[in-house]
Structures are given as structure tokens and as C-alpha cells.
Amino acid sequence: MHGFANPARFLRMARWLMPLLLVPGLVLAFGALAWGVLVVPADRLMGDTVRILFIHVPCVWLGMAGWSMIAISSVIELVWRHPLASIAARAAAVPGAVFTALGLATGSIWGRPTWGTWWVWDGRLTSFLILLFLYLGYIALASAAQRDMAAGGGASRVTAIFGLVGAVNIPIINRSVVWWNSLHQPPSITMGKSSIDGTFLWPLLIAAIGFSLIFGGVVLARMRMLLADIQAEARLRRKAMG
């Protein structure tokens, strides 16, 4: 783990790993979406609108996975002070927020024809909207902390603590449909059991793997960018001093 504390070593690995994640990710995601839209039969009740499943579910999973990554990186930063941890957390925030927003948008579009409404304030939808707001707050705080760090302050710890506290929302989102009556249905996939028929489940799982690989590739790309930013800034400062 601490082998990658050397950014040069990490950057060498990231350079070849990034296309290795992005290319198969794009192939799998688009393949599974095409399968879901063109091949899979209609649902017994929802008809063709069931096809939104293949984009909605991977998006919301990754929205939650993104914050889990922020939380784990924050723990590593706070306890072990790994130099790449805060960069990994910040790199996951933007794609996480994008997938969360996509999950909310596709869910809303799906809700109109099936439930009869674009939006309701039930436990699941509200807690997921809060996740988006947490992401926006985290991104703002992280960029403020970077400026503070450049000026010699220690605000990066505050960002990590915020990432950790925000993780409380993740189990709440997961349990919201069990704890409270909600318009959103209870979970379809729990601990190795699924009430989704195999004809829908396989393209869904492949889409989820594809989207996850894309997510990983984007995180690596953003980590490279953030590291390059820090290097450029350090170089500028040296020039200004000398």
C-alpha cells in the first residue's frame, strides 16, 4: 500500500491501468444497455419502461459506491496519513455526484409512467437527494481546502471528517425502504437473493460491471489530473521564490 506513496510510481501504474478500465467498461456498459433496450422482453406490469432499470440501478449503486470510496479514503487519510488518500477521495467525488444526479433523473423519469408522479418526499427519494447535496458540499469543501493547503493550512482533515460523517447517509439510504413505508419498492436484490427475473438480471449485472469500470477509469484520470495540478502549483511557487 505504501509503495504507492510515491506519486511517480502511482502515476506510472495509472497510465496503463486507466485505458484498461475505460475501454472494457465502455464496451460492457453500451453492450448491456443495447441488450436491455433492444433484446429484453417487456415487464408484466410496467411494459417497456422497465428498460430504464439498466441505467437507473447501476447509477444509484455507483452514487453510493462513490461515497463509500470517499469514506474509506478518509479513514486511510486520517489514521495512516497516506498521501494519495485525500486525492483518491476528491477524485471520486465528481463522478459520484454525476452518477447520483443521473440516478435521480432516471428515477424521476421512471416514476412518472409507473407511479404516476415525478417526485415524492418518501424516505428513499429524500435520503438519496441528500446524498447529492452531500456530494456538492464535499466538492466545494475539497476545493476550498486545496486552496488552504496551498497556503499552508490544514483544512484537508476537515474534508476527510466531512467525508466520514456523510457516510452515515449510506446505510440510511439502503435501509430507508425497510424502516419506513415508502413509495419506492423494497430491495429486489439482497444477500444473494433476487426477485428480478434472470432475463432482466443478467444485462443489469453486466451494465453494473461496465459502469463500475468506467467509474474506476474516471477516478484514475482525475487522480492523475489532481496530482499534475499539485505538481504545477509547487513548481510555480518554487519559481516565485527563486
Partner: protein, 150 residues
């Protein structure tokens, strides 16, 4: 006695902080358990009826064979049940596509006497996703069809 390494000190501090955080989250969720529900189920509504005329939501299953259209053609009456209690509901308007007997519904409205008068109906989908061709088959039949088409 040797001093604790700073790394371990941070780890202990973090574990304690996380335990407190999770405890606070669980307490908040527990306190919200009654308030954060999106609707009343019929047995709640019968056991602790809200004031007449107060805006509430009622959620449950539309009982099979209970949907009756009134002579005006746009008003429907049906029963919503949860296995323990049942409440008669009146609604005037266009129902969502997934509003069918034996399926879930959330009605927004108020109690008027013993009847729940709904202004709006939302269909509640269950967690099962099944292709249209297989909905009337038994499990064994569906398996045979899947085996055939593979």
C-alpha cells in the same frame, strides 16, 4: 511503559468517533421511525384514526374484485387492505397505468366519515420484475421456457 504510537492513537480515536456516529444515526433513525413513513397502512388508520379532514396518505393493496366504477363513469370506489384491516376509498379522476387490483397503491386525501376520499392516486410497484410472457406461468413452466430458449 512505552508511549502509544500516534498512528494507533488516531485509529482508536477514529473507531470511537465512528461508534458514536453510528449510534447517533441509529437513534435518529429510530426516533424518525414513525414520523418518516410516507403513508399510513390501513391497520394504523383504523387503530389511530387521524382527524377528519386532515390531509394524510393511505398505502396498501387494492383488494381483488373491489374496484367499482360509479354511474358517473369517473368516480371509483375500492377497498385498500394490508391483511389486518381494510379501508374503503373513493377517488374521482384518472388512475395511473399500474393501478390494478391486487397491486399496491398510495392514496393522498382525507378521511370523511368511514371513507377515505382520495385527491390523487400513486401506484406502488413491488420488487419483482418478470417478463410479460411469463407472468401467468407456474415456476416450473417458466423454467422450462427459459431452458428452451437458451
Amino acid at each position: 511503559m512505552s508511549a502509544i504510537k500516534p498512528k494507533h492513537q488516531r485509529l482508536v480515536l477514529l473507531v470511537v468517533a465512528l461508534a458514536v456516529l453510528i449510534g447517533a444515526g441509529l437513534l435518529a433513525a429510530y426516533a424518525l421511525s414513525t414520523q418518516a413513513s410516507y403513508f399510513y397502512v390501513p391497520s394504523d388508520l383504523v387503530a389511530k384514526p387521524p382527524e377528519q379532514g386532515r390531509a394524510v396518505r393511505l398505502g396498501g393493496m387494492v383488494e381483488r374484485g373491489s374496484i367499482k366504477t360509479m354511474p358517473d363513469g369517473v368516480t371509483i370506489n375500492f377497498m385498500v387492505g394490508d391483511g389486518k384491516a381494510r379501508v374503503p376509498v373513493r377517488f374521482r379522476g384518472i388512475t395511473p397505468e399500474l393501478f390494478v387490483e391486487g397491486s399496491g397503491v398510495v392514496a393522498e386525501g382525507r378521511m370523511e366519515g368511514p371513507t377515505f376520499v382520495a385527491d390523487n392516486l400513486l401506484a406502488k410497484h413491488d420488487e419483482k420484475y418478470v417478463p410479460r410472457e411469463m407472468k401467468d406461468m407456474s415456476k416450473a413452466q417458466a423454467k422450462a421456457v427459459i431452458a428452451e430458449t437458451k
